[in-house]
C-alpha cells in the first residue's frame, strides 16, 4: 500500500469503519512508515476533539422543559383547570339557586312576607328603603329574577377569569 492510499483510508481506520483486508494492509504499512504513523496520531487526536463535542449538547430533558415553558404548556392546563373550578362552581350554584326559586316560588314568597311585614311597622330611613326594594322584588315576575341571576353569573365568571389570568401572568 502506498502512503497516499493509506492517508485516504486513515479517517475510516480511526473510526473502525474498514473491512479486515484494508485494515491489515494499513497495519502492515504503518509498521514501516513514520510519516503515516504521525498522520494516524493526528487523526486520533482529531477524533478525540470531535468526540468531545457531544458534551456541548445540553440534556434533552432540559431543552424539552424550556421549550414547553415557552409554549406555555403547563400554564395553559393550569388556566383551564382554574377556569372550570371556582368561578364555574360559584356560577353554577347561583344559577341552580335561581332556577330553584322560580320553580319553588311559594315558600320564598311566604318567607319574604314574614320579613317584610315586621319592618313595615318599625322601619325608618335606610332600612325602609331596603325593605321597599325587597317588596318590589317580591312582586316582580320570574323573568326579572332570572335576569338578576344571570347578571350575577356573568359578573362572577368575568371576575374569576380575570383573577386567574392575572395570577398565571404573575408566575
Amino acid at each position: 500500500m502506498k502512503c497516499e492510499h493509506v492517508e485516504n483510508k486513515l479517517p475510516f481506520y480511526v473510526e473502525g469503519d474498514l473491512d479486515a483486508v484494508d485494515r491489515a494492509g494499513i497495519d502492515a504499512h504503518l509498521a514501516t512508515c513514520d510519516a503515516c504513523r504521525t498522520s494516524l496520531a493526528a487523526y486520533a487526536q482529531l477524533e478525540s476533539f470531535l468526540s468531545d463535542r457531544r458534551t456541548l449538547v445540553p440534556p434533552a430533558s432540559r431543552t424539552a422543559a424550556r421549550v414547553a415553558g415557552r409554549l406555555g404548556f403547563g400554564k395553559r392546563r393550569k388556566v383551564l383547570r382554574a377556569l372550570v373550578s371556582m368561578p364555574a362552581l360559584l356560577s353554577a350554584a347561583f344559577v341552580a339557586t335561581g332556577v330553584l326559586l322560580i320553580v319553588v316560588g311559594n315558600p320564598f314568597r311566604i318567607l319574604l312576607d314574614r320579613f317584610t311585614s315586621a319592618p313595615r311597622l318599625h322601619a325608618t330611613g335606610w332600612s325602609e328603603a331596603i325593605t321597599r326594594q325587597v317588596v318590589a322584588l317580591e312582586h316582580a315576575n320570574e323573568y326579572v329574577l332570572l335576569g338578576v341571576y344571570l347578571g350575577v353569573f356573568a359578573v362572577i365568571m368575568l371576575t374569576g377569569s380575570w383573577m386567574v389570568l392575572r395570577h398565571v401572568r404573575e408566575q
Binding site: 487526536q45 457531544r54 424539552a64
Partner: protein, 201 residues
C-alpha cells in the same frame, strides 16, 4: 405507563407523535423535542458556530416547529423537515448577528484528571484554534461533522436527514477531517517548537 401514570410515548414513530401533538397531547411534542434536540443543536451550531445564542436559537426552532406542525405533510422524514427549519432559523440568526462576533468560549471542555494548569491552558488553546478552523470549513462539511459527532448520528441517518447519498456524506466527512488534520498537525508542530524553546531557556 410511566411513573406519572401516562402512556409512554417513546416507542411511537415521529409521524404518530406529530399526530398526537396536533390533537393537543403536550407530552407527545416533548418526546419529539427530546428525540431530535441533538440534531437541531448540531445544525444550529454548524451554521452559527459557538456561542450562547445556539441554545436560544435551537429552542426557537422547536417553537417554530410546534406552530407549523399543521403544515407538516409527512412526505419527507420529520428529521429532514426539522433540519430545513433549523438551518433557516440559524441562517436568519446569523444574519442578525454581527459578522465579527464568533465567540468560542464555550469550547472549553472538562480537563482530564491530573492535568497540570499549563497543560490545560495549551489544551484549551488548541481546542479554541481547532474550533476556529472548524468554523471556517464549508457549511456542508460542518453540518455533516456536527451531525456525526455532536448529534451522534450514523452515516445512514445523516444521509436520510440531508437527503444525500451515503457516499456523499462519507466524502464530506473525509474531506472535513483531512482539512482539520492539516491544521492540527501545523498546530502540533508550532506547539512543539514553543515547548522546545521554553525547555532550552
Amino acid at each position: 405507563m410511566d411513573a406519572r401514570g401516562e402512556m409512554s410515548l417513546s416507542g411511537e414513530t415521529d409521524a404518530q407523535l406529530v399526530a398526537r401533538s396536533l390533537e393537543g397531547n403536550e407530552n407527545a411534542f416533548r418526546t419529539l423535542v427530546e428525540r431530535h434536540q441533538a440534531v437541531v443543536y448540531g445544525v444550529v451550531r454548524a451554521v452559527l458556530g459557538a456561542g450562547d445564542e445556539v441554545e436560544d436559537v435551537a429552542q426557537d426552532v422547536f417553537i417554530k416547529v410546534y406552530r407549523g406542525l399543521g403544515t407538516y405533510r409527512g412526505d419527507a422524514r420529520f428529521a429532514t423537515w426539522l433540519y430545513r427549519i433549523a438551518r433557516n432559523e440559524a441562517i436568519n440568526a446569523a444574519r442578525r448577528r454581527r459578522v465579527d462576533t464568533t465567540p468560542v468560549d464555550d469550547v472549553v471542555l472538562r480537563a482530564p484528571e491530573g492535568e497540570r494548569p499549563d497543560e490545560q491552558y495549551h489544551r484549551d488553546e488548541q481546542r479554541r484554534t481547532m474550533e476556529t478552523h472548524l468554523a471556517q470549513l464549508d457549511e456542508h462539511h460542518r453540518v455533516v461533522l456536527e451531525l456525526r459527532y455532536m448529534s451522534e448520528k450514523s452515516y445512514a441517518e445523516i444521509a436520510e436527514i440531508l437527503e444525500l447519498p451515503i457516499g456523499t456524506v462519507k466524502t464530506y466527512i473525509h474531506r472535513a477531517k483531512q482539512e482539520l488534520k492539516r491544521h492540527l498537525m501545523r498546530l502540533t508542530v508550532s506547539n512543539d517548537r514553543r515547548a522546545k524553546k521554553r525547555h532550552e531557556m
